[in-house]
Every structure is written in C-alpha cells, then in structure tokens.
Homo-oligomer: 381 residues x 2
C-alpha cells in the first residue's frame, strides 16, 4: 500500500483526534504514546510506547516516516534538530517550536515582529519583579509565568508581591526551575483565538476567529465565530495569526490566543503549534477540521477549506464527570449533540471529552451545548 507514514509524538486526545482524519485520507498514523492504554493508543494501530525525550523511541517513531509532528511541545529541540539535519521533515520545525516551548523567546520574537503583546519583562529576581510591578499603570499586579513547562493554567500566577513566587525564583536560581516572565495584568473584555494552518511551501489558511471562555485557567467553552466581533478586529486577529505563522516559520496548525480590550485592541496571550482546544469545534463545525488540516499541512498537501458549515458552533469541554464510565451518558444526550470522548479514566477536572452543537441561533445552540456537557459531566446544567 505504502501510504505516507505520519509520525506523531504524544498519545493524548489531540493525537487521538488525528486518527479519524488519517483514516479518511488513507494515511498511516504512527503515534509515540506514553503508555499502551493512553487516549490515542486505544484507536491507533501503530502506537509504539516510549518517552518523547528518548532518542531510541524517537528513532523507531520516525523510521520510514514522511514527516514527524507533535501533539505537544515537550520534545527536546536538540533531538529534533538532529533528525532534521538527517533529512527527516519535522513540522513544526525546532526553530519554530522553540517559541511554543519558551515564553521569553516567544515574547522577544513577537515584539521584534511588531505583534502586539501585553507589556512584559523577563524577571530574574524579586527586585526585578518589584520594578515591573512599580510600572503597572492599572492595578499593581502582574501575571508571572514560568518560561517553560506550563499548560492549562499551571505555571501561571497572578502576583501582587514578589514573595508570592519566591519558590519559583529559588528554583530558577538553582537551575531546577525555568526562568520567569512577568506580564501586565490586562483588563481584557474577553479572550479570542485565531487558528491558522501553514504548509512548508507557504500556503496559509485561517478559520473564523472564535471567542474562548476560560475557567480556572482551562478552556471551558468556545464560540465560533466570536459573537459581535467587529469586522476590523476580526481582520486584525487573522492578520496577527498570519504574521505569527509566517514570522516564526510555523508549519502545521497554530493557535494564537489573544485578549480583546474594551477599545478593540488585541494583545497576544499564548501560542500553541498543534491542534488546539480552541479549534475542536472545527470537527463538526467547519468544512475541514483542524486535525485533518494539521495532517495536510505537515505533509505539505493543499490545505482544506476552513469555512464554517453553520452560522454558529459552540464547543464545551467535559471537565471531570460524576459518571464512572463516560459512555453511560450517551443514552441521555439529544439528537443534535456531537460528542467526542477521549477514552480517559475519570478524574476531577480532567479533560475527558467535549461536545459541539451547531445551528442558526446562538442562544439555543449554546444552551443545548451547555446542557449536553453538563449531562456528560453528570452535573446540573
């Protein structure tokens, strides 16, 4: 058959959701999973077990592969550079990926590109952070982040006094923790995200800009497109997405999370160089899903159409559940709900799945999506 092999690092739900897209396109998906019962391992035939930082495991993963890609950013860049030097296509490449791995590198580069960011500084000491706080124009507070290793709200603290991140400074000083970044506390009205795909030969496509609602630092709800979004702001968000994708040389799917301020100003918050929670709605709501698009992009295939299929899509995460087995909720869901379960063991607050509802009327779509997510979580809507 000799279908192209797409090698993916990571066995979570993002790799899992690449599987249906690979099936349709007739591609051979091979996923390096943390363990044999991980979310992706349940649905991918070729799923070797190994650590993303293990050179032997990576070697096996890329054997005969047309491309190496990722569902997370936790692969040592030295290994990727070495693979790339040997002619194995790595997308996104290590030179791009570093911007999703290190927030100081990211802020430095975005600032150089003229991409609007919150006021920020790398802070190496309590004094440095105090100086940063002294310059606050609004509330005397800052968002302090570890430059590396954070996700879903971990590695992020809102700080009013440097003592609140004393432990992080100590860890950074002794080399057991990452350097720290301070960012102004932005008085945003809401969070937006733009999803972009770029292929190595340069083609770029963006999906409609979405509104993303976070709870406790975790994406809870996504509305596509972002309601009442000023067309000029939407165009600016898309332009920022393109600038970041092109400026950083991103290949594959890129998510750019942004703050919208009361006057419509946009400031970039975070980047992810892979399919992203803010794009899960595309499976049921867009002509081409972010998972299919990511496979297309990393293989340098023509990108698929990104138009929405219906006026509104609302995606809601299933975070924890009262059901012991999530499929127990299936008999309780209405006929228009698209449910995606990740095959994970239930734990409080864990991302176990998501639901998407699409339709003409936003209020009704959102109400049905919220009710469905509550049903899967086993809680009152």
């Amino acid at each position: 058959m000799a279908a192209p092999v797409v090698a993916v690092v990571g066995g979570g739900q993002l790799a899992r959701m690449m599987a249906p897209a690979a099936t349709a396109l007739g591609l051979h998906l091979r996923v390096l999973v943390e363990d044999a019962v991980s979310s992706a391992a349940q649905v991918v035939v070729d799923a070797p077990v190994g650590e993303p930082g293990d050179p032997v495991a990576l070697e096996r993963l890329v054997s005969g592969a047309a491309v190496l890609t990722f569902e997370h950013e936790h692969v040592p860049n030295t290994l990727l550079t070495e693979l790339g030097d040997r002619g194995i296509p790595v997308h996104p490449g290590p030179d791009a990926l570093v911007h999703a791995q290190d927030k100081i590198v990211m802020r430095t580069r975005l600032t150089a590109l003229g991409v609007p960011c919150p006021r920020w500084a790398a802070v190496e000491s309590a004094d440095g952070l105090r100086q940063f706080l002294d310059q606050a124009t609004g509330e005397r507070a800052a968002v302090v982040k570890t430059a590396r290793g954070g996700y879903d709200g971990k590695g992020v603290r809102v700080v009013r006094d440097p003592a609140e991140v004393h432990d992080w400074f100590s860890a950074a000083a002794t080399g057991t923790g990452a350097p720290l970044l301070a960012e102004e506390l932005v008085p945003f009205t809401r969070e937006l995200a733009v999803l972009v795909a770029r292929r190595p030969s340069g083609e770029v496509r963006t999906w409609p800009v979405v509104e993303s609602v976070q709870r406790d630092g975790v994406c809870a709800e996504v509305i596509a497109p972002a309601p009442h979004l000023d067309p000029a702001t939407a165009a600016q968000a898309e332009q920022i997405g393109r600038t970041v994708a092109e400026g950083l040389g991103v290949t594959g799917v890129l998510a750019v999370e942004m703050f919208e301020l009361p006057d419509g100003t946009l400031l970039v918050n975070e980047l992810a160089m892979r399919p992203h929670n803010s794009g899960h709605w595309t499976i049921d709501g867009a002509v081409t899903s972010q998972f299919e698009q990511h496979l297309r992009a990393v293989l340098d295939l023509p990108l698929g159409e990104t138009a929405a299929r219906e006026p509104w899509s609302v995606m809601i995460n299933v975070l924890g559940s009262q059901h012991a087995v999530l499929t127990d909720a299936l008999p309780l869901l209405g006929p228009g709900v698209k449910v995606h379960l990740y095959g994970k063991a239930v734990r409080p607050g864990r991302k176990l799945g998501h639901v998407t509802v699409t339709g003409d009327d936003l209020e009704s779509v959102r109400a049905r999506a919220r009710a469905a997510a509550a049903t899967v979580m086993g809680v009152d809507a």
Copy 2:
C-alpha cells in the same frame, strides 16, 4: 475504562468507516477481519483475523461484547441464532437479516407487507422462466437474480431467453448454486434510495431520500437529496423505508434501493441491513453519519439527527485508479473536497474510496465532485 465493545463482522471499508464514529463516541470497536491488512484492520486496534463462518472466530469476536453487528450479510444465520439464544444482542438479528441474504425470502415478505415490488417469481426451471417472460407487459425480458450471494451487479443478469441462465439453473439443480428469482425489467426513470435507522426499542429515523446512479451494476454517484423529487414521492419513499424497517424488524441502518417510474410510482429493488454506499454522503453532508448512527442504533442509544448540513451533497465512488498509491492524488485535489480512501490495493474497477462535495448549487457541487473523483482515479473528468 470499560467502554462498550461493539463487535463487527467484516474488515472492509464499511467497518473501516465505523472506526472514526466509534472513536468519537468512546466505544471499543472490535472487528473480525479476513486478513491483517484488510481495510478495517489498518485502523482498528482490536481486529482479530478469522472467517465470518468460523464459530471459534465468532466466539472470540463476541467475548465481552455489548452487541454483535455486521458490515455484510455473509454470516450463517444458525450461528447468529445460537449467539442470540445465549443472550448476546445481535443487530440486525437473524430473523431480519435473512431478508438481506435471500432475495426470494425478501420478495415474499415485502409482498406480504404490501410494499410495492416489481412483478417477480421464484423460477425453478427454464419453463418457469419462459412463462414469466411470456407475461411481460413491455419488452420480453426479465432480470434474473441468484437468491443468495450476489452483490454489486454480480448474480444479476438481464435475460431474454432462459438459455442465458442455463448455468445457474444447473448449479441450482445440483445444489451448488442458489435458487433463482425473476423480476420484470422495470422501465424506471432513475434509482432512489432511502436510508433508515431503527433501534431495538423502536425509534426510527430516515435521512433525506437520495438519487443513486449505477454504472455496470455498481453505485457510481449519489445526489442528496434526490433532485426535483416530488414531495409526495419523497414521503412515500420514507414511508416504505419505515415499513420495511418495522415490518422486518431491522435494527441498525437499513438501505432500501428503489426504482422511480415515469409516473412517480416507486418499486423496491434491493435491501441492505448495514451502512450502505448510498449513505456515504452522510459523513460529510449530514449531522449524523450512517456509521455513527449504526453504532448508536445497534447499542439501542438515542438516534442522532439526520438532517443535511448543506443544500446539496454529491458522493462519487473511486472505482479503480491509474495511481499506484491513491494518496498520490491528494496533492491534486481542491480545498473543498472531502476524500475518503479505504487503504486497499489498486485493482481495475475496485471500490477504493469516495469523494464528497457539499454546497448550495447542485451543478457546481456535482462538477467539483466528478472532477475530484476523476483526479483520484487518475483519469480525465
């Protein structure tokens, strides 16, 4: 995790296309495949190899399964009855399935239910067939079918003289072939199909009635919904679908293929009790695909919404290809084409995949779908 296990007999593209639906619903799919490289085996982790008629293989297949179902009708009913007697849910059950296995049983039952069929007779000899031909009202010709084992135009001949099926009569007489059925040659204007899903507890849903275009006895193109279909005819087609599903006690997805006559009369041609080629458009064109719906139905879960997502969907089969590897065609396809490749070795005329295009304007949608299918086949559009 303990997700419900859905056991499926058959490793072809129909079982393959159940995999993405099972992934989304968090179900454990287990497929009995003919060999380890079959279409479904490439994308289903739990894919034991065995013959559908082997009791040991079936026993392993159903171990711990919530339900046993099928992608084809070639399982001995005695085995299914035995499994059902032991309390293993079998959907569709053997009492329904026999109507998809034996065309004489099917015609007898449909006639008893008052479902409109072409004039037909079981014919046991050349004399019997001659009598049938003598009664022809139009052209002196009949469609002769083997009652069992036919598919995709095999086991079907248009006959003007009994000598043309002499070999089949001989085989039937010596017990090496199936009994024969003669049907009038219907002067139809086109073929329609209605796809129905029914769950054991009784809920029934139908998708919009489609037009299906056959070439050389093989489904080549499906247009959803059937263009210019009289609403009364559409309602009658849906009613026929429901009557067949309920009258025969079908569970899961049922496809009813029909002839439409110049005056709008409908006559049932064939039945299939499983996802069917005439329903492939539902993957990209309907809220719920026939594959997800089949899984829902056989598990007795609430059925999903069957509305079309866009005004028109056109599905075209990829039958053979000039490409040695079908994925070689991916770089040549336009952005709005949804392609589904089955991972099969290329052989002339073989069903290797399909493409679907959706949109507002039928002529443009059909032209794009035809061009895309030609591209995958490596031929001029």
